[in-house]
Symmetry: C2
Subunit: 336 residues, 2 copies
């Protein structure tokens, strides 16, 4: 293994000079810098991570905790994780992957041992078991998701309440007066993951202001469950002319079922989805949707946690893209 000392000898300089060439923490003459860089290349030198961490008390590693429960929509989580990893690498950081199995103590272990300099927690619930540990932790942390009480914490999330309002507004503007929300699985609400509740609340709030009726029914995303949810909706509210789906898994089955039932999208039923862009565009009908800005969420989490932004909750504004799945409410039966 090539060490810094060997590089120094090879270049005919002292160890500290090599170190400073690497860190850029003091000015080095062109001549020396080039000699050192040449030696580094020729010897194939890689600074030892452990030694560096020990001497500097910084591991340059950021821990990413991704619980990944059964009912979470994996692709979004992964997109966030990739954004975290990419942004981290741009700043010379590596990412340590923690899954849910080990429980909250994983945080203590990783941070206590100095393995990671900072933490990013994904899939944060309204009352998350990890929050007490985050609050008392000496190391910076960022949450992806907004807990019930974000005081003293650094959070990033899509503004789901605004998302709900935006969907309601779009549909109301098209003349819809009865809209249904095909929600997440019941377990998601029980677990009190914030985003589902917040979206629903936003929809209800704006719908109420605009005089639109809202019916919400959970859906676990399987074909059967979606069929059941749909049946309930049309049974309880036959006048329903628009739907908001915020369960990505249910989108395929939903469109399939509507087609089967002879309900045309958007002529008979308008559909707005809350989902990643690719999901919206790859369906049989391109969906009007509010994108989940997974990439930006991951990127901002790294930036906030590494730039010592202090306790900030950053809610990203939703953007609704109109595509082919929403249109004017159908005129009631009998009209021209």
């Amino acid at each position: 293994m090539v060490t810094l000392a060997e590089v120094a000898r090879h270049a005919g300089v002292s160890a500290s000079t090599v170190s400073y060439v690497l860190s850029g923490k003091r000015t080095i003459s062109m001549r020396t810098r080039e000699r050192v860089e040449k030696s580094i290349r020729e010897l194939g030198y890689h600074p030892n991570a452990g030694a560096r961490a020990l001497a500097s008390s910084k591991s340059n590693i950021i821990a990413l905790m991704m619980p990944l429960r059964i009912d979470t929509y994996v692709p979004v989580m992964v997109e966030i994780a990739i954004a975290v990893a990419t942004t981290a690498r741009e700043r010379g950081l590596d990412v340590l992957l923690l899954t849910g199995q080990e429980g909250p103590e994983a945080m203590r272990r990783v941070v206590g041992s100095g393995l990671a300099d900072a933490m990013i927690l994904m899939d944060v619930e309204l009352e998350d078991a990890r929050l007490p540990l985050v609050r008392e932790a000496a190391r910076p942390a960022a949450l992806i998701g907004l807990p019930a009480d974000p005081s003293g914490l650094t959070c990033v999330d899509l503004d789901f309440a605004a998302t709900g309002r935006l969907c309601a507004e779009h549909l109301a503007g098209l003349g819809h007066r009865d809209i249904a929300v095909v929600g997440e699985a019941a377990a998601v609400y029980e677990r009190r993951t914030g985003f589902a509740e917040r979206t629903l609340q936003g929809v209800r709030e704006r719908a109420a202001e605009l005089g639109v009726r809202v019916l919400h029914r959970p859906c676990d995303g399987s074909y059967e469950s979606t069929a059941g949810t749909l049946a309930r909706i049309f049974d309880e509210r036959p006048a329903t002319t628009a739907m908001i789906v915020q369960n990505e898994a249910a989108i395929g089955p939903l469109l399939s079922l509507l087609r089967q039932q002879g309900r045309a999208v958007p002529e008979d039923i308008s559909v707005v989805a809350v989902c990643p862009e690719p999901v919206a565009t790859q369906q049989s009908v391109a969906l009007t949707s509010v994108a989940i800005p997974a990439h930006e969420m991951g990127r901002r989490a790294v930036e906030l946690v590494m730039d010592g932004a202090g306790a900030v909750s950053e809610l990203l504004p939703p953007r609704l893209t109109v595509r082919a799945s929403t249109g004017p409410a159908p005129t009631p039966t009998g009209a021209p």
Copy 2:
């Protein structure tokens, strides 16, 4: 920060004793061990990862490289990643996440710096750009996926050739004489990811032996693409009575389209899928399928790479589960 020296002082023993209590590398009297453990608990001591890595030349970190291209099926990758992380933790290892962005050099960096003791590479192509680096690397590595030339490498994968044979055999046994393979996206074949080719080859091989005709058409999994693929298949081979799908994304659209076209599953068309169990069971018709043993693949990769198994290629045997989507071939038109 609590150090080992402080623990030693608090317990009234030497530093090495504390170290040996932690590592179990030499026998310690009950009495001393308990005193030390008590001190560790009382002081809330966590061994410093950097110091440990430096002194022992072992980081206890295993790097997981997950390229995640656009056309890979994310959930399977994630399931493998979770299995890797879980198995690693059981052995006291942590997992460093590397994505594709950084390219093969990421391996050099991570291994050269001693950041990771070993590597696991996912989504390995037949002629993978990372292989030369793996071969010359000083550290152990395991591949998930089977390259064209696995000599000198440690690999784990589902036996896709056997998978293809198994599917062909099952359908032939039910009397089908014309089967179609709804394959992966053309890009997957171009990239020469082994599994797609191997499955197809297995299907063809066994089908030939059993006198069954095979038609293969790629499919990128979108609704539109699946419709196109399906149209081509029935156009070119109207007598098709069975299909093998190995593109998870295409499963939903495929079933939806068949239903729409009035083709009943399994009465008119039998369908076998190569996909994770949950995907097979959550469709409108429970699918006969060969499961992708993601968990076992991840687990074995860690075991092989950490137990110094040497260069071994482990192909996991496929298991086909019969569900509701396959049945006897329909009797030709006009028969009783």
